[in-house]
Symmetry: C2
Subunit: 410 residues, 2 copies
DNA sequence: AGATTTTATTGCACGGCCCGACAAATTGTG
DNA sequence: CACAATTTGTCGGGCCGTGCAATAAAATCT
């Protein structure tokens, strides 16, 4: 979308955001990510002229995605610029996160606002039963949507690897799944319009952190998530790393300790075996499950020796693995999510030691390692973003051909 | 790399190739990569119409980049489509590869044709002296260019990590360098117009394999290069993985064997220490240097025990590391280059064992592992491609503002 | 030689965007 | 309260890149 220029060189549409049809998506993306924005700010963000922005905003208004309101705040001299607000109900995504011991659901509106939440604590193991349970849980959320809300699709985060083409969960060891056509099953059970996209929870966590969490605007980002296993999502040059089959970033079975325990993947000393939350709980003498993490937190706060030792040891292995990944991906920021996010305070010291042990920070600047800012909802919000991405790629088209649902991986 | 067909809504320029000014670059890129192409083929490749292609080809002709010739071959009924040929001398890159024990130079024309080669066997160690030597070696190559040849820049591959912004070689342990402003030094010594771009040899090897080697058209590719150290370049979703500082893919210091030898990076059991060609020679009881590799090849062919054992052992460690990387990057193809390419036949069996040991090939299809198809010139050709990339991003602009050289990393 | 097939050329139209001029809305000042 | 200064929305004009359809050109087939 380059253009001939006559005056000063105008900045192109924001770097990293590739050209979209009509720039309509570009404008809507700004609003979706940055919230209400004045027209003038939009011209600065997109590099388009006032005329073009006016035209685009008008079209977005006609499509129902935005509404303009008078600027409430005093800005200084000059005519005030009206503020363009995204309308959450104009595009609603049903987001689902399949963790190991729980399922979270939420309806997320344009702009990223969570409209309502729901949670299943002890979900079924069998895929078919689980899908039915999810559909039942989704019904009240969807019923509670405001009138004239427009559902644009469903995003699903799953602890396992999802195939890009069709949303089949190839392998989810912690759920005991293999080759489950989750996308198609959910699509049939829910009967919702729009896309149904399935992605790995860590990949989606990375996406969410980059969009709405601590990694806003960071081009190269690593997200490490601890559920029962250990997941890792990578964003490089602003786009999620996918790989041929959509399995890129599966770092859980990277070698860190050949003297370590055998892993159920067949190899020994995998990162997950040494630093996964299952190992963390076992090392602290606790039972597996989310209740175990609560208990661990209590014991660590109380200064119990076994708990602290477990956190220290696991933190070190976590850091060693992260150090290797830092060398491989050269990220600007590493975000620790889910269980690791919760326990970040206790893991941090030994984790930083581990990172320093292996990463060649001498080469570049030191990497920043932080905890997630999305209080355990990273993967859920990421699942929603997956669907919003499709919408933003062609907002007008999404409205036009609504009755053409597509199931795919993320 | 699907292509557009008439009837259905036309796809924009080939997916993965972002929109370029005027689509001019897109057309020139097709010609640069695929060689002489008929106008009709160009419409199929780019998805543009005949009218547009005609206009673009005319403009490229006026700029001197291409010339049309009558179709020499019998095609069938109908009016024959003229074939558009890239003119090599219209854009010439001086490519330089700084290996450990040698320096290679070549002039490469548009379309990827190597116009002339040169080689320094025992180069100087000191950066300043080396740069002078390179400039002296480049002079006859440049003098031998055909009349009216247009030099568009210089591409440099170096065994070390080059900073993206300015082409400073941050760290090149095998050359004993640290913070050498190679880009600026070479630019000053050569005095050539256009860009001067510096990149890591493995990254550039990956680029070359994807453009002109065994990885043509492969979207996700891993290139493993053995010079003295061990380098690794990654191409994901068609674009080179860069990272914040341009250090992504630096897998040489990934942990593979904690029981292994200490590495000069400070850690122990790094991949490079176990599988680098230095280790290979040491294990076979040979002295370091390229002569050692020749000798190793002879002894292995003769069936000498120590040589075979070394190849087997190193091949296994190589495979283990590759297996981990396969999990991390999910490539479609792994290419072994430089020393590993030469010795591929002997390394292959134990290497495949090692890969199987760690990579979860059960998940997706098996990864293909092959030797480089560019007979030791991958990095050199990749360095040229680095510069061609800039040219193709805006061919008209490159002609317009020639006197504006820019030094940068690749 | 004429029919058929495939392709290049040409003129036209449209969409997306920039530009310049003008009107509108606000703040600051006498 | 009127005026200047400032900033912004609006409208008409125009350019550029590309698609579309009609026409001319160059080959093969019969």
């Amino acid at each position: 979308m380059a253009r001939a220029r006559s005056g000063a060189p105008r900045r192109r549409v924001r770097a990293g955001r590739s050209s979209r049809r009509h720039s309509l998506g570009g404008v809507l993306e700004c609003l979706h990510l940055d919230g209400p924005t004045s027209r003038t700010q939009l011209t600065e963000l997109t590099g388009l002229t006032r005329s073009t922005i006016a035209e685009l905003v008008q079209e977005l208004g006609q499509l129902g995605f935005v509404e303009e309101r008078a600027a409430p705040l005093v800005t200084g001299p000059g005519r005030p610029s009206p503020v363009v607000h995204p309308r959450p109900q104009a595009a609603v995504v049903l987001a689902v996160e399949l963790a190991v011991a729980s399922v979270s659901l939420a309806t997320v509106g344009l702009g990223g606002r969570v409209l309502a939440r729901s949670r299943l604590a002890r979900p079924e193991d069998d895929p078919a039963a689980l899908v039915a349970e999810i559909a039942a849980a989704a019904a009240p959320l969807l019923a509670a949507l405001p009138d004239r809300a427009r559902v644009v699709g469903t995003g699903v985060a799953v602890v396992g690897v999802a195939r890009s083409q069709d949303g089949v969960v190839e392998l989810a060891p912690n759920l005991g799944w293999r080759g489950v056509p989750l996308g198609a099953m959910l699509d049939a059970a829910l009967g919702l319009p729009g896309w149904l996209l399935v992605g790995n929870d860590a990949d989606l966590g990375a996406l969410a952190e980059q969009r709405r969490g601590v990694g806003r605007g960071v081009e190269h980002l690593l997200y490490v998530s601890g559920e029962v296993g250990l997941g890792c999502g990578v964003i490089s040059s602003g786009i999620p790393l996918r790989g041929t089959h959509g399995f890129a970033g599966e770092a859980g079975h990277m070698l860190v300790n050949p003297d370590g325990r055998p892993c159920r993947c067949g190899a020994t000393g995998c990162w997950e075996t040494e630093a996964g939350s299952a190992r963390l709980l076992a090392r602290a003498g606790l039972a597996t499950g989310s209740a175990g993490i609560d208990e661990l937190e209590v014991r660590a706060a109380a200064g119990e020796a076994a708990a602290c030792a477990a956190l220290c040891e696991v933190g070190r292995w976590l850091g060693i693995g992260i150090g290797d990944l830092v060398n491989l991906f050269d990220p600007q920021l590493v975000v620790l999510g889910s269980v690791y996010g919760r326990l970040f305070g206790w893991l941090e010291p030994s984790l930083r030691d581990g990172v320093g042990l292996r990463s060649m920070t001498a080469m570049g600047g030191a990497v920043e390692v932080v905890r997630s800012g999305l209080v355990g909802e990273a993967a859920l919000l990421g699942a929603a973003e997956l669907v919003f991405d499709r919408l933003l790629a062609d907002p007008a088209g999404a409205v036009r051909r609504r009755s053409e649902p597509r199931v795919a991986g993320g």
